[in-house]
Subunit: 172 residues, 4 copies
């Protein structure tokens, strides 16, 4: 994730203040990619069987995640306009669906890993819930971009609540 903050050419506070929408969208994206990284990293450490399906599901997820900096920058440079926020929510939803597909691929390839299955049950539940909210967040941009923002923040909160099961699976 590349920080899209262009360095202001003077040292005034006003110059810095003009960057707030870009900074805010940066915080949003950092949080989102951080949550994915955290859950993804832990998940991949728990699994033992990696097959082609998991590899391609992973690459598919990476494709949508790689488009988020573009969406973030478009949102930030246009002060949370309707269209950029719509595209941001749409791409975020594709990321969520791709993560869900990855979960299913891992589930299928590791049927005997008890601890992992427990983690996957929780994560697929969370994933389904956040995908539903995210789907609502897309058209919400046409009511007000702030509504989309609120729904996406709600998704972040769901995922930021620590998942004790992942930790247990790693320990054992």
């Amino acid at each position: 994730m590349v920080l899209e903050l262009k360095v202001p050419h003077d040292t005034s506070w006003d110059a810095l203040q003009g960057l707030w929408p870009i900074f805010l969208s940066y915080v949003f994206s950092f949080l989102m990619l951080g949550i994915y990284w955290g859950n993804h990293h832990h998940l991949l450490h728990t699994i033992k069987n990696v097959n082609g399906g998991i590899m391609w599901a992973n690459l598919h997820l990476l494709f949508w995640l790689s488009l988020m900096p573009f969406a973030t920058a478009w949102v930030g440079e246009n002060q949370f306009g309707i269209n950029p926020v719509f595209v941001y929510a749409l791409l975020a939803n594709f990321c969520g669906i791709a993560y869900y597909i990855l979960l299913l691929a891992i589930k299928k390839a590791n049927p005997d890993n008890e601890a992992l299955q427990e983690v996957l049950r929780k994560q697929t539940k969370k994933g389904m819930l956040s995908n539903v909210i995210n789907t609502l967040a897309i058209p919400a941009a046409f009511i007000h971009p702030a509504l989309t923002g609120a729904l996406i923040i709600f998704i972040y909160i769901i995922w930021l609540i620590p998942d004790r099961n992942i930790e247990k699976a790693i320990k054992s």
Copy 2:
């Protein structure tokens, strides 16, 4: 691979639509580098003997791959013009040949690794086939850039078909 999508300065759909050739060339490159990454990653996990020859063959491959974002951007910024598509196919061919050389270097350094030899037999067959198609794709740009595109997509399909042998080699 850096996403070369310049963020449009207004929020209209027209502004976004103007990015389609860059986006399409991005998808192409993502797919290509993803296929290389997937096969390369799996291959290097299967081998045990790494020598200088493998190291330099790997660096050689990396050199040509590192030029792909440039070729991709040139293709995208010029809406699939003949010359950029020609250069793209040429560099893609150099990548394919470099991968083939890497396969040969690995083959030579690991003569006793049965499972790896089986994987290499399949991959060198696939590699040879895709290099032949890619060689045809280069002059095809002068007939029509779309012909080059179709041939390269065909190569991607060859590689995207899951290689069960790699998975077996990893498991055992």
Copy 3:
């Protein structure tokens, strides 16, 4: 950390000389991120229990560190002006506090790791001291930016003194 040195378009020494404030701020940032990387890398290799708290504390630290290239570039492009230096010291302080929080999270999750506890005792002492100095360095920018610079260099010296305990912990 991206080097923000724009390449001069002519070959004169004057063109190169104009880059000195950007180069100096680059050296500063390289040193800072290098010290974090070194201590962080060693710390994470010593711990055994990673939980959600450590993961989020780590991500929090990464967030502030990711803003340093922006602050560095702002300092460099404005020849060490008061406001940029103030923001640099402020963000550096947030990094320091985030590192301290990470230390506490690791401490709590690994109560029985004797060697680690010894390392943490030393690092929290160093961390507390450098956070106090960094807090003073922020308002010091309004007296003179060079005062802030001197205080931050002093912090670097504290951390650059080799910590024999980390090495011992790794060996055993």
Copy 4:
């Protein structure tokens, strides 16, 4: 290493041809960083005792290497002018000296590792020779930049000759 090839806005061969000095300097840097990466990677896999001294020597090397893309771009954008080539050779020499310091730090920390000591003996010999040639390459830029180029290519050849001892050390 970032590829500094700016994408031409038209599809003519002339547009591509204008990039040759940048491309050539890119090849130079790729080769240099590749050689460092290869030797460095192998070296760090052979050692067992890492201490603070090695860590800082490594960071010191990384600092000079991180400046090479800047020097490369300056050389490329000014068609191998005297000053850029002089700075390139100077920084390359700092990299070489930093690598030599790293070798000494590793040597000191691993006195009992027989295989490593043998590798280090060869590498310090090579390192000393290439540092001497590189020192000559710096003032040579004032005679003719091509002379500097020839001397640096000679250094690359020295390092590209495979070092069988590293391979042996890895195998055993």
